[in-house]
Symmetry: C2
Subunit: 498 residues, 2 copies
């Protein structure tokens, strides 16, 4: 993907490519793909199909099309570090990606407005390609074709939305009604936006030919979207301008204090912003919208059943992944991991297995998984929050078992990575190295622990675990204590600024 | 159960209760309830419903009705130790239960013939109540009523079979056609045995009233079944007589040698026995059969769907067990353990979860689970053989994880129990005590390891783990080595004769 990228940049428009930006919205919550997605591991981080996660794929889709450094990700403050760690596998490219942090989630109008503020400040000519981070678009070339067309319209100060040509009477999407008699440089004038239709209406839309799926992909100048916000969302616009003043205030003495105060003022302003989508807030109200008719395969992956539209199936219509033994099932989606999932004679079912939770549902009801998540929340459980294996900047850990007074973890430390210098008030830890070499700091001593050796960290003792080698380090940690939760940790020094 | 048992014995017949025996057939394989049942953990050991396992329930059903010491279990040699361990929770009663060991499984005619040999030798008047170990009969009193009736018939030298009054047009059972015009002491003359019918025939049987389900429960004199075998299964009978000569040969010098030779001769004879059911081999051919019409709830638990006939359901017709979050499913059976199973809108489905395998199937196809087991066998996997938690005479262990060069187990040792004195050639072991106190023997030292302490057993070192206390001992064992399989064990001393 993005291989012949230099061509694309030259071909695209007369516009200076330097001021072309991709703005990826990565604020999605992630209940729809539970149990694979969790609150701390939302849909955009999932490797559902193809290479890498949906977010990785979104980035690669425009990599080369926009200049290095011009890929921005809008993310809420609390998710920013997870996203940052998640970008690491992209290598040096990850360093060029800029995160725009929202103090909290306030829907797409606010997120796009915030990004537009920054971009407009950088250059009044900035053009932004706005993309959700969790959609599936397998055909990059076709996407870029549509994008080139859209850029022309954006140059001419239109707001451009991507309308996907429908391939079935889908009732799960909103539609855009275009006016094919008004074509401007290959772009269509938009008549109106329509809500998710019932089946009959969707069938009529499909037959009609003027209706397109509303994809949530947009292209426009930062200056143009801001001026439209000023008209259609005046309160939101005013608050953003106030934030701009705070953010870009000339620096003075005692800068640190001011900066902290500014951040908290910004957060207070942001918290009060109207939570509205860009579609409702601007697009449906503006007269300056054009639609690029797009012919690529696309899915918003709104639920497990949406994989059907986008993933390859076996001859019986099944999507099978992982350790599955299947006897004569049809049109079913079975996502297994290492554990065995045996299925017999299923029809149109979804089965999703993870180490701590399994979902079984007919496809047509898979979107009700949110009810399961709701029940988990109400009962104070954690299967909706985190996975058994938790990714960390230094590697990952898996809780193998938790019992009264103890917890067992497998900890994997990446080559040359180290955990923070830390201390636990209420637990001791036994570490058995099963592969690699560990460098252990315990109080004032530092020593190596090799495979098949063990060491002991007493309660209330400063310690640090480090992988000084070039191969991964794996240890089994047995925690003992009256309280063995993650929040019993005091950090003294950390490579990752935690 | 079996509370007012002394009454029953007095009431039952004029027959001397001392020669009344319960013979429980425990040779079942256990693929039908996979993944809950495994080859090493067959259906009769499962606690599917009620108190204890199906085998425990079968024993308790006749406990008190037959004298202590008169409960015999016929089991194959290779399963005998597992069954023995499984009986331990029954307490002192377990010591009175006698195991009759078949060298290998050879169907019910052989198993019953073998038990009859022994019983007839004890007393020519012995009466045997033959019962499968893995059926569900929740109503003990009604069962005992039928049993009393059956005993009268057995006294009069009839072979008595239990026919269950059908409550639905079941196509999964064989039927007995009785002749209600010939009633002998409340028992009916049997016209014939009929194979599993199709639905239409089963409906006709149900309407007819003369048809009963063939339950596989029998009562007869040992002498009578042997004489019927002599007529209808002459080869099998002759081989059994030959075995009898070997088994009951007067002892002489060098008894040990002879005994070993006898055992291997018996095994060779047994291996050649015709593998035929008692129904085909004797009952269908004999003229001396009476049927006791039985009116108790009964199921042979032939597949997961059979639980419907015997277990309590919620208001939506579901059987839910364990950690289940269910959204609007109906008539479904969900067996979960500690892991979360979330189900949405299921209809007539079976979902069974275990730590290493999950089954999802429509109820009506649940019996095809044997195809899954077949595939597992073919692919050389072990999910059909054992569970992640393996019961041992001293407690149990659970494999928490196995990786390249290591294996992690949680080991629970019962109070006052000890593992064998042993040695591993290819692995070392780290033990971390998480609760209780361990007494550890390592080479010539013996020492205590308390909770939150650890110890290390080097490779090729004799060692023993023991729980000297009154509370359960739990340790986490991390094995390290190039080979970490169970068969790397050399035993020097063992409380359990292994």
């Amino acid at each position: 993907m993005g291989g012949s990228s230099s061509n694309k940049i030259q071909n695209r428009t007369s516009h200076d490519s330097k001021s072309l930006y991709a703005v990826i919205l990565a604020g999605g919550a992630g209940t729809r793909f539970w149990p694979l997605s969790r609150e701390a591991y939302p849909k955009q981080l999932l490797p559902l199909m193809g290479e890498g996660s949906l977010l990785h794929q979104t980035i690669r889709r425009v990599q080369g099309f926009v200049p290095p450094g011009n890929i921005w990700i809008v993310v809420t403050e609390d998710k920013a570090q997870d996203i940052q760690f998640h970008l690491a596998p992209l290598g040096s490219m990850a360093n060029h990606i800029r995160l725009i942090k929202e103090p909290m989630g306030r829907n797409t109008a606010a997120a796009i407005g915030l990004a537009a503020l920054y971009l407009h400040r950088l250059s009044p000519e900035s053009v932004m390609i706005v993309m959700p981070s969790d959609h599936a678009i397998p055909e990059t070339e076709k996407f870029l074709e549509a994008l080139r067309l859209a850029l022309h319209g954006a140059e001419d100060d239109y707001l451009i939305t991507f309308g996907i040509q429908p391939t079935r009477p889908e009732t799960g999407y909103g539609y855009i009604q275009a006016n094919p008699s008004e074509v401007i440089n290959g772009l269509l004038k938009v008549e109106c936006f329509v809500e998710k239709p019932n089946l009959q209406t969707a069938q009529a839309y499909l037959a009609d030919g003027r209706y397109f799926w509303n994809s949530g992909i947009f292209v426009w100048k930062a200056s143009k979207i801001l001026s439209e916000m000023k008209i259609h969302l005046p309160h939101l616009y005013a608050a953003l301008k106030e934030m701009e003043n705070l953010l870009f205030l000339p620096s003075s003495q005692n800068e640190n204090d001011k900066s902290e105060r500014r951040i908290s003022l910004c957060a207070a302003l942001y918290a009060k912003l109207e939570s509205i989508s860009i579609d409702y807030g601007v697009l449906e109200r503006s007269q300056n919208i054009l639609m690029v008719p797009a012919y690529f395969q696309w899915s918003d992956l709104g639920s497990w059943s949406a994989l059907d539209d986008i993933m390859e199936k076996d001859e019986d219509g099944n999507i099978l992944k992982g350790n599955v033994i299947n006897i004569e099932s049809r049109n079913s989606t079975i996502f297994a991991g290492e554990r065995l999932i045996a299925t017999i004679g299923l029809r149109d079912m979804v089965v999703v297995d993870t180490p701590d939770a399994t979902l079984v549902s007919p496809k047509e009801r898979a979107q009700e998984v949110r009810k399961v998540v709701e029940k988990l929340k109400q009962s104070g459980r954690e299967e909706h929050l985190i996975h058994k294996t938790v990714e960390r900047p230094w590697g990952r850990y898996t809780v193998l078992e938790k019992g009264k007074g103890y917890k067992i973890k497998r900890i994997e430390v990446n080559p040359n990575a180290k955990l923070s210098l830390q201390l636990h008030r209420r637990r001791s830890e036994h570490w058995v190295v099963v592969s690699g070499v560990a460098k252990v700091t315990r109080d004032r001593e530092t020593y190596l622990v090799h495979s098949n050796e063990s060491t002991y960290i007493p309660i209330q003792t400063q310690h640090r675990l480090e992988n000084p080698g070039e191969e991964p380090l794996q240890i089994i940690e047995v925690q003992n204590g009256d309280y063995v939760e993650e929040d019993d940790i005091e950090r003294f020094d950390d490579d990752y600024g935690r």
